[in-house]
């Protein structure tokens, strides 16, 4: 037993050193490095609107239900709450999943005035994080006419903003093409001022 107690004591002493170096110094040094080499990114990629912090470009920003001037993001299992994160975790054959998808599809079809079959899958499925700011280019195209009408901007102008908020080709190849609704909606908001 004595041997084990000695090994336990050694373990705690080793862990004390490890906690100091790996648990305190290392993250603090990385914080300092981050402030130098990537200050906006290290601090949450905050974007401004009229000089005030308005959103993080990486995190979804919920759009109020009747706000027809903006692009709607994907459904979220955490109701777009940025202080938490998570998914539905519904199994692929769970009837609740099919039900949620078909009711979302009907609502979007009515809102955008298109047939239900035109609604893409990303528009009716919840993301893994619940904070996904991105939608497919197809879902963005579906929303362009409504946004143009509600904002008074021309369709061409809205298309231009959509293109600006779309991932480049390399990211589209390594992942898939995506339109960032947070960036896009901020760009529209700036025009509305």
């Amino acid at each position: 037993m004595n041997v084990y107690l000695r090994q336990l004591a050694t373990s705690f002493r080793f862990l004390a050193v490890a906690t100091l170096v790996l648990g305190v110094l290392y993250p603090l040094v990385m914080f300092g490095v981050g402030q130098v080499i990537g200050s906006p990114e290290a601090n949450g990629s905050i974007a401004q609107l009229d000089g005030a912090p308005a959103a993080s470009t990486l995190i979804v920003q919920p759009v109020p239900e009747k706000e027809n001037r903006l692009f709607f993001p994907r459904p979220s299992a955490v109701k777009w709450d940025s202080t938490t994160s998570g998914a539905s975790n519904l199994g692929p054959s769970d009837p609740a999943l099919a039900k949620a998808e078909s009711s979302a599809r009907a609502a979007i079809a009515a809102r955008e005035d298109v047939p239900a079959s035109a609604v893409p899958l990303d528009a009716v499925t919840a993301s893994a994080s619940g904070l996904d700011p991105d939608i497919s280019p197809a879902y963005a195209q579906l929303q362009v006419p409504r946004v143009a009408k509600a904002t008074g901007l021309s369709v061409d102008e809205v298309q231009h903003l959509v293109t600006d908020a779309t991932t480049n080709q390399v990211l589209g190849l390594l992942g898939q093409p995506a339109v960032n609704t947070t960036k896009l909606n901020l760009a529209i908001a700036a025009r509305l001022k």
Partner: protein, 546 residues
Amino acid sequence: MQFSFLSFITQIGILVVALGAVHRPLGAYLAKVADDGAHLRFERWIYKAAGVGPDSEQTWKGYARSMVAFSVAGVILLYAAERLQPLLSGGRMASVDPWVAMNTAISFITNTNWQAYVPESTLGFVVQMAFLAVQNFVSAAVGIAIAFALVRGFVRKGSDSLGNFWVDVTRITFRVLLPLAAVVAALLIVTGVVQDFSPSTVHNAITGVSQTIPGGPVASQEAIKELGTNGGGYFNANSSHPFENPNAFSNIFEVFLLLAIPFSLPYTFGQMVGSRKQGYTILTVMAALWLIAEGIMASTIAAWPNLGEGLEQRFGPAASGIFATATTLTSTGAVDSMHDSLPPLAGGMAMFDMMLGEIAPGGVGSGLYGMLVLAVLAVFLGGLMVGRTPEYLGKKIQARHMTLAALYLLVTPVLVLVLTGAAVLIPSVVADAPSQGPHQFSELLYAFTSGANNNGSAFAGISASDPLISSLMNVAMWLGRVLPMVLVLALAGSFAAQKPIPPSPGTLATYGPLFAGLLGTVTVLFTALNYFPALALGPIAEGTFR
């Protein structure tokens, strides 16, 4: 969402090239760290602070005793830190529920990182950064140390020692993991991963929406979480959270990170035993199994018509499948998509990857020692087939070695199958589950497969904080980590004591395509025979009869 074959093949190509480029320098460096006779100055200071005599070597029993004591001490420390969180966080965070605290402590010490809690609401940055993330380093170092000890067992002749546990863990942590993690964390910050200590408040004047944007030392933890094949997310959504994995660049980088050390260790092995072809044979088997698994995963996802739930738009199906395969073939368990919502056969494939014993390429260290135990089994079976005395690397395989190897290979399947069986017999577990039928069985099977293999990913629909489930998971994680390690050390001790026998014309060559084929076949057959009935009741039933 559509599966893109072009995206899949591009990403696999990039990963193969990148891993091909790093496995030699990193593997050679690891071998140097394992065999270096000299101590660095800061290491001497650490040995002094911990009260370790760095020049004394340990027997396998001494090595195992240190490993067990270190793990027990880690559990006690983490449990205490979680319970005392109000004190540590200046009253901002509450004390963690005792069941969840114990489950989390065992989970992080065993390199599992199963998370029965929602980090955002349960753990402040102090406990995550100063306690959980420290275990991300040292639990990875312990895994690599055990692999070093096993390789030394093959190398040493008539010796009763395997090295010094404390020296191995210190060197791996401070010479390998810490410098790598620092570089990786800096790169992750540039892609958009956060590294700060306070949340920010934002307000959109047009919509009237206000948000609290979380902060935290995420990049520093993310780096070692992937490099050390740990997998515990700073956020609940793990690597699908935009602050842990902001875009498709960071995504493929993270896949590379979790494969980098496991795919380098076979080179280390070849270097240490003085035969590179032995190392490359092991590497070939690992790489072949990985590529086949990626291909099967991709085809099960591509065949599913309804992709979207639990997937992030910026990654999509191809990248998510690649991540899911890499995270379950290693012992990582980080996720960039929700495995519970994957197509049934894709979820089944993720389970099968873990059931292989996480050897292709496996967890850091555990992948190599797992594969070497399978090599001992393959040599034995090969010897039986051709009627030759089984030998591996000059060591004769005897009854004691086969007993230890067989016990090693049976520990995990027994834990998975017995505990899953026990869980489905508990009425409250079955009644409380949100899912029904084969998918409900899959969630439980996935949980215990993940726990006993120290993976940590989940079919997250399961109610993981339920005290019954978390207690059974504690058994799976603890025994699934400590028992195989002790058995590997016993095996190593027995080999080290043996005098080598010179190779004769009758010796079965343990390198080249023939042996690689034998080893790969043995691995897959062994796994399939153990688990096929259980898989048939879960993912196969769900995927076939819908």
